[in-house]
């Protein structure tokens, strides 16, 4: 590069502004969450989460500057190396990690503790993008092209599972979105959604009734399909699908009782019926709903929340930060947060679509998918639409690892996007 340009040239300001808005709203709410009227709490005191978060925000800004300075080709060229480094860290955490809340998933570098699992999303995104950047690879036609992708996801997934951090692993489901965009047949995500629906139905109703209902529906399909579509040959396929579905219904039962750990089973059951365990796991969900619900239309006002102070909502400044928003800023505040996220994700999809290289597009979709999944699960759990899975709300939740990893993830894409005008001319 012969001429000096400001590193911010061509950076998409819409995304940057949403990002800054999220950070600021998040920080203010972390302060509200740790605020204790009986002890003088300062926003800038590094002994509480709000002060620490400010420090994390500052360091994230430094990281962003670094990302914008580094040549954009670096990320594509070194994507597999970055992936290897993260895998190494994940292996290391199994042996040298420190134990926090039953998950052995933190590595200490001097005073700083990091959670390598948070960075696995970045590593997988880069690796998948790099792999798919080969134009010979097609997800529409060739099944064997899927194997490397499965491998790229499975290795870190397994390592994370070993360190007992199931929540971070579930995030990998978000890669279905990018695969769908790159040509994965539509019936695969459809099956996924049907499976999830079946799972919930199985837990709510008696399984023999469901089996009977499936048989009845299959019978109707077999009887009506030739009449309606004048096509034949659907008989065996329909029977097969019906049998598989009944198998799933009974399999879910087995899975719930024999495979899942007790607390995981509890979290799913509580989603369906919070009153089933109001003292235990249901407690979190009830408290979280009370906090958000009591906010009303305009909220109780900054620092005026009562439910979210002290012990009522657990994990106040991390996973349940949205409760503070809901309680103190009401429907207006909550809606702003939801709209901010949807705007951010949609903008990312638009940016991804205008990329000229496949690497950049795939990576953009990865970023959008990951942020979307976190948003969906985290807010969903606080309003009782999703099971309680401990994953942070991007840019809002307290925590250095999560803030860093999301910032890096996002700004690598913005850097690549900023170089878009030059990609062709450089050949």
């Amino acid at each position: 590069m012969s001429e000096t340009k400001p590193i911010t040239k061509n950076v998409d300001w819409v995304v940057v502004l949403i990002y800054i808005a999220c950070l600021m709203i998040g920080w203010i709410n972390i302060y509200a969450a740790v605020y204790n009227p009986e002890v003088n709490t300062s926003m800038f005191d590094f002994n509480n989460n709000a002060g620490k978060q400010l420090m994390w925000i500052g360091t994230a800004a430094l990281l962003i500057v670094c990302i914008l300075v580094i040549d954009y080709k670096f990320y594509e060229t070194f994507s597999f190396i970055i992936y290897a480094v993260v895998i190494f860290l994940l292996v290391m955490v199994l042996f040298a990690g420190s134990n926090v809340n039953g998950s052995r998933s933190w590595i200490k570098f001097g005073p700083v503790s990091l959670q390598p699992a948070e960075f696995s999303k970045l590593a997988i995104s880069l690796a998948i993008s790099k792999y798919l950047s080969d134009p010979a690879i097609s997800l529409t036609r060739k099944l064997k092209d899927y194997y490397p992708i499965l491998g790229i996801i499975a290795v870190p997934a397994l390592l994370i599972l070993l360190s007992n951090e199931t929540g971070s692993m579930l995030v990998f489901a978000s890669f279905a979105i990018v695969l769908y965009r790159e040509g994965m047949p539509g019936f695969i995500p459809a099956i996924g959604i049907v499976m999830a629906a079946l799972l919930i139905i199985t837990l709510l109703f008696i399984k023999w009734y469901i089996a009977a209902a499936i048989i009845v529906i299959a019978g109707l399909v077999i009887w009506l399909m030739p009449v309606m579509t004048r096509r034949r040959g659907g008989l065996w396929a329909t029977i097969l699908i019906a049998v598989v579905m009944i198998g799933i219904v009974f399999g879910v039962d087995f899975f719930m009782n024999n495979v899942l750990q007790k607390h995981q089973r509890g979290r799913i059951m509580v989603l369906l019926d919070p009153d089933s365990d109001p003292r235990g796991i249901g407690w979190n969900v009830i408290q979280s709903k009370i906090a958000i619900g009591s906010g009303g239309f305009t909220g109780k006002g900054f620092l005026q929340g009562t439910q979210t102070k002290f012990d009522f909502v657990p994990e106040q400044s991390t996973d349940f930060i949205f409760c503070t928003v809901g309680e103190e800023h009401g429907f207006i505040g909550s809606a702003i947060v939801v709209v901010l996220f949807i705007a951010l994700i949609s903008r990312l999809v638009v940016l991804a679509e205008r990329q000229r290289s496949r690497f950049a597009r795939v990576y953009g979709y990865c970023v959008a998918g990951i942020i979307f999944f976190h948003f969906m699960v985290n807010i969903g759990m606080t309003i009782g639409l999703m099971p309680v899975i401990g994953i942070p709300l991007p840019f809002f939740s307290y925590g250095g690892s999560s803030l860093w990893s999301f910032s890096i993830l996002l700004f690598i894409f913005l850097k690549i996007d900023a170089q878009r005008p030059f990609t062709l001319s450089r050949g």
């Binding site: 003292r279 009303g296 012990d311 809606a335 999809v349």
Partner: protein, 631 residues
């Protein structure tokens, strides 16, 4: 074609976003069951403090439980006290107390209730409840008081008190609030998270004058307080109290362990105090008195005090010697050419006799052989290598490190190695002749009574131990801390224990501890006499019984009480008999030990002479009734 899929994807995002917006709108705007605070005049949130977990002994008897008491709260701006004199009389307080309490409450908040008087008993509550109706702005809150079945185990259990300002500010997640209680020491501190339970909330309706009108929405939104988890300990309350009575007017420790499990049967730290005095509302007065007491009753001696093990350490020397192969069960040594003195006793031709008569030169020679086993020509280098090898083997007995008992501030003691002496003398500038006093448990060795009891348990088990622990079950399911199920091996083979145990039986039957033998129980024991700079030797005894199937391993330390056989051995053997048979046959010995005042021989650090007898015997404030609770 595939580009069009972006619309499906953005559509999916928008769908989820819309769903969430609708759900939020429903929760926050349409469904009013959550908007409790907006109607706070009629609906009040009451925080329910759960009962703290109770603690049981090994026979199922309660050791610690809770008694309901009542706190009196005042909301200053509502308070109307027209006849202060009568009011003070009813509550049994002085006019000046009234003024200062009111001032403190107003300083905290004029509108929020704050504590006025705490822990009124049920009876007091009943007698003043009717009168208090005349005074607005005062309300009662139910609370509970830690209560102890017996006045024992004060240091082991620890105490609970109001959270301090520093603790309040330093807590990681904001759980505690001002005036909350928290475990401050002992079991109460270590198991705080298990014992405290989970606070609950109730929403109740009230009319304009604050009269209770039933639960709101039928209690649908209430979360119940979850009582703390009960703890199950291996303590035998009867034996514990018996041991207490034997340690009256003495300074020292008793630790008894069940060898097969590592459970603590009894743990005495003498002098002790009645734990009830720190649970009463006179906490600060009583605490200050305990803190000032020169004998330091708040110092948990079994795990924090350190002594030289004296002759009890010879047992370990013998075991290491046998395991290393430098002696055999039939090895004998005489008193010739030995720098350590000894007393008159028959010849010691075997390990068993060496242990039985506690022969100093015998173990001087054993230690010498262990150190010089490596055949290095240079005696300085040989000593260095030998000492480190010895250090590693002794470490396996838990000496020189924390055992990991579930009590705070365990002292790790001192087990010197090469580095330790290098610091004093310089590398390779010291040899066996500088360190031989280790052979008989003197010199730089420091151990705690707990560790010595654990050594007795190791010998009882013939080679292994479980980490000693007070609590073995948490909650109704009696969850066990997995660390307490790990079997720690010492590396000494079982057959090497037999000659040592034979010597220990001899010591009780006809050796240094013969005066306290118990008819019908085979006890294996070893006396120790720990030299110290301050006064008479400390009397030490470790033992286990019955030899055939050990059920109890014990260590007794009595400060400045002379030889091991004089005070420690009789106390230990009486406790063993009490635990195994539930009765004591040698009543004369029992009475003599209970009455013995060995405290008067104790010379405190920095003192030249024992303290005069009556300096510390001030009575603590115990009555829980306000002094003038009459109408």
């Amino acid at each position: 074609m595939l580009e069009n899929r972006r619309f499906v994807i953005i559509g999916f995002f928008a769908l989820i976003g819309l769903t969430y917006l609708l759900r939020l709108f429903y929760l926050q705007v349409l469904d009013d069951s959550y908007s409790i605070e907006s109607s706070s005049n009629s609906i009040k949130r009451v925080t329910e403090i759960p009962f703290r977990g109770q603690i049981y002994d090994r026979t199922g008897k309660l050791i610690v439980y809770n008694t309901p008491v009542y706190d009196l709260l005042v909301t200053p701006y509502k308070a109307r006290v027209d006849d202060t004199l009568r009011f003070c009389q009813v509550l049994g307080i002085e006019r000046s107390d009234f003024d200062s309490l009111m001032a403190a409450a107003s300083a905290y908040s004029r509108v929020k209730p704050s504590l006025f008087l705490r822990q009124l008993s049920k009876e007091d509550f009943a007698s003043i409840q009717d009168i208090m109706v005349d005074y607005s702005g005062f309300e009662f809150a139910k609370s509970s008081l830690r209560t102890y079945t017996a006045p024992t185990l004060a240091n082991t259990l620890g105490y609970v008190s109001e959270i301090t300002k520093t603790q309040l500010e330093k807590q990681e997640e904001p759980y505690y609030r001002q005036s909350d209680y928290i475990g401050q020491s002992g079991i109460e501190k270590i198991y705080e998270n298990e014992l405290r339970g989970k606070r609950g909330t109730k929403f109740v309706m009230q009319n304009v004058s604050g009269v209770y009108k039933g639960p709101w929405k039928g209690g649908e939104l209430d979360t119940m307080a979850v009582a703390g988890e009960n703890l199950y300990s291996g303590i035998d309350l009867e034996v514990q109290q018996y041991a207490d009575s034997l340690m009256v007017n003495k300074v020292g420790s008793v630790v008894a362990i069940e060898p097969k499990t590592g459970q603590i049967i009894s743990m005495v730290s003498a002098p002790t105090y009645d734990p009830n005095i720190l649970a009463s509302r006179y906490f600060s007065k009583n605490y200050a008195a305990l803190a000032r007491n020169p004998y330091k009753p708040l110092f948990n001696r079994p795990v924090m005090a350190s002594y030289r093990p004296g002759s009890t350490f010879k047992l370990i020397q013998a075991l290491i010697g046998l395991q290393e192969g430098v002696i055999t069960p039939g090895s004998g040594f005489t008193h010739a050419n030995c720098p350590v003195g000894c007393h008159n006793h028959p010849a010691t031709g075997t390990v068993a006799l060496g242990v039985m008569h506690s022969c100093n030169p015998y173990f001087y020679n054993v230690f010498r052989r262990i150190i010089y086993k490596n055949n290095i020509k240079n005696t300085f280098k040989a000593s260095a290598v030998g000492l480190d090898n010895w250090h590693d083997q002794i470490s396996k007995f838990g000496i020189g490190q924390r055992l990991g008992i579930d009590l705070p501030s365990e002292y790790k003691g001192n087990l010197p190695n090469k580095k330790y002496y290098d610091r004093f003398y310089g590398e390779y500038r010291w040899k066996f002749s500088n360190i031989y006093s280790l052979s008989i448990g003197e010199g730089e060795l420091l151990i705690t009574p707990l560790k010595m009891a654990n050594v007795a348990a190791i010998i009882a088990n013939r080679g292994y131990f479980y980490t000693p622990h007070v609590i073995h079950g948490i909650g109704d399911k009696k969850k066990v801390n997995p660390e307490y199920l790990v079997r720690h091996e010492t590396g000494v083979e079982p057959h090497n224990f037999e000659p040592v145990i034979e010597g220990m039986i001899g010591a009780v039957e006809g050796g240094t501890a013969r005066r306290s033998r118990v008819e019908g129980i085979t006890i294996a024991g070893k006396t120790g006499t720990s030299q110290n700079k301050r006064g008479d030797d400390h009397s030490i005894f470790i033992a286990f019984a019955p030899v055939e199937d050990p059920k109890i391993a014990i260590a007794v330390f009595v400060e400045n009480a002379g030889a091991g056989g004089q005070a420690a051995a009789p106390i230990a053997n009486l406790i063993i008999e009490k635990y195994l048979t539930r009765k004591v046959t040698n009543k004369a010995l029992e009475e003599r030990m209970m009455k013995a005042d060995l405290m008067s021989k104790v010379i405190l650090p920095g003192q030249k002479k024992p303290l005069p007898a009556d300096t510390t015997k001030k009575k603590p404030v115990t009555e829980t009734k306000p002094s003038a609770a009459r109408p």
